[in-house]
């Protein structure tokens, strides 16, 4: 970190390589568009690179980086500058062979694959129906695996607020996805 703050570009490249997947995943799940997500992830890294000297180490670097990415994305979502259609990543093979898909589908491999794709689309639709803040909490907690405390630092709100948003968001998702819940 000291090297990065001293202006070492190679050291920053190391941080980019280390965090790009996780950062992209957050932004992608918030936008459901891979092109927007790539653009916003790069923008977040550029912002971090520009203001790295202002990072004082009060929080961990990844929390600081997540905050930049989340704020950048929420700002763009608020301005409605992002694409309104889905551009989804391919599901890995393991998704169609997961226990959930096998439970939902009694057919063969092709049917399971089709069901996995359908489920992917429904999940993204359901997430996009949530407000950006509720969506962010769900993404950070359920997909990225952050703790309530970490989410509260990223979103600059109390832990109670995080819990409340998470509870409400799950209720909403449950209603949207009730056909798939057993």
């Amino acid at each position: 970190m000291q090297r990065v703050q001293a202006g070492d570009v190679a050291a920053f490249d190391f941080l980019v390589t280390k965090y790009r997947e996780r950062l992209f995943s957050i932004v992608y799940n918030l936008t459901s568009n891979r092109e927007d997500a790539a653009d916003l992830t790069q923008e977040a890294f550029i912002k971090a690179f520009s203001s790295i000297k202002r990072f004082r180490g009060k929080s961990s670097f990844f929390t600081w980086l997540y905050r930049i990415a989340v704020n950048t994305t929420l700002s763009q979502l608020k301005k409605h500058r992002l694409r309104r259609f889905f551009s989804l990543e391919n599901l890995h093979e393991e998704a169609s062979s997961s226990e959930i898909v096998e439970t939902l589908s009694e057919g063969g491999k092709a049917e399971r694959r089709a069901l996995a794709n359908e489920l992917q689309e429904k999940l993204n639709e359901a997430l996009q129906k949530l407000s950006p803040k509720h969506r962010t909490v769900v993404v950070l907690f359920e997909i990225e695996g952050l703790s309530h405390q970490e989410i509260s630092e990223v979103m600059d709100c109390s832990v109670g607020t995080v819990r409340s948003r998470l509870h409400y968001a799950k209720q909403q998702l449950q209603a949207y996805l009730q056909d798939y819940i057993r």
Binding site: E21, N29, I46, S50, T103, Q120, N124, L177, R182
Partner: protein
Amino acid sequence: MSDQKQQPRISVEDLIHLKRSEQPDASFWQDFDREFQQRRLRLLMEHESGDSIWRSAWLRWGLAGGIPTATAAAVLTLGLVQLPTGGSASFAPAGTLSEVPTASDSPHTELSLEPVATTENSSLNLTFGLRDRPLETAASTSSSSRTDFVASFVSFANDALSGEDGNGSSSFRKVMTPTSLVSEPRPAHQYVAESLTSASADSKAHRSSELF
């Protein structure tokens, strides 16, 4: 019934976890890295050249006469803004138009960017520029109307912008030259502050007594 017991329960959390398997492939990250390097390089280049570009642009603008041009524009704007639309407005205590001094009346004292106007019987006279040395606009008391003021000021500005007044020197520079100013020039913020307080009746009376 027994089948239902054997089937694992699917919760909303389980469904959301499926999204973890939405991952881009390796070629995506190659493009990502390339684009990011380009963006960062552009940022670094802008950062490196930003200061010197602004400095040289400012210098070029100043040498090309940008400062007198901007001053003329500001003075014109200030004059139009403060120009009353009706005949009842008055910037200074009412007086006869003949009391307005001409260029030969008094010694030059200080620069004033504020308009000083008197209205009488819906006619308007406005001095603008050097206090106690009104410009040509103010001297033309017979045709003291808003149109005349604008026309003469535009003429004055054109002379100033063209840089020549027939004698081979800038008329704008000639008016603004320090030799025509007896007192010390004041900073711009002081002029702005004085312009803002020109609405005060006390200051109007004070200036009026100085002027006349």
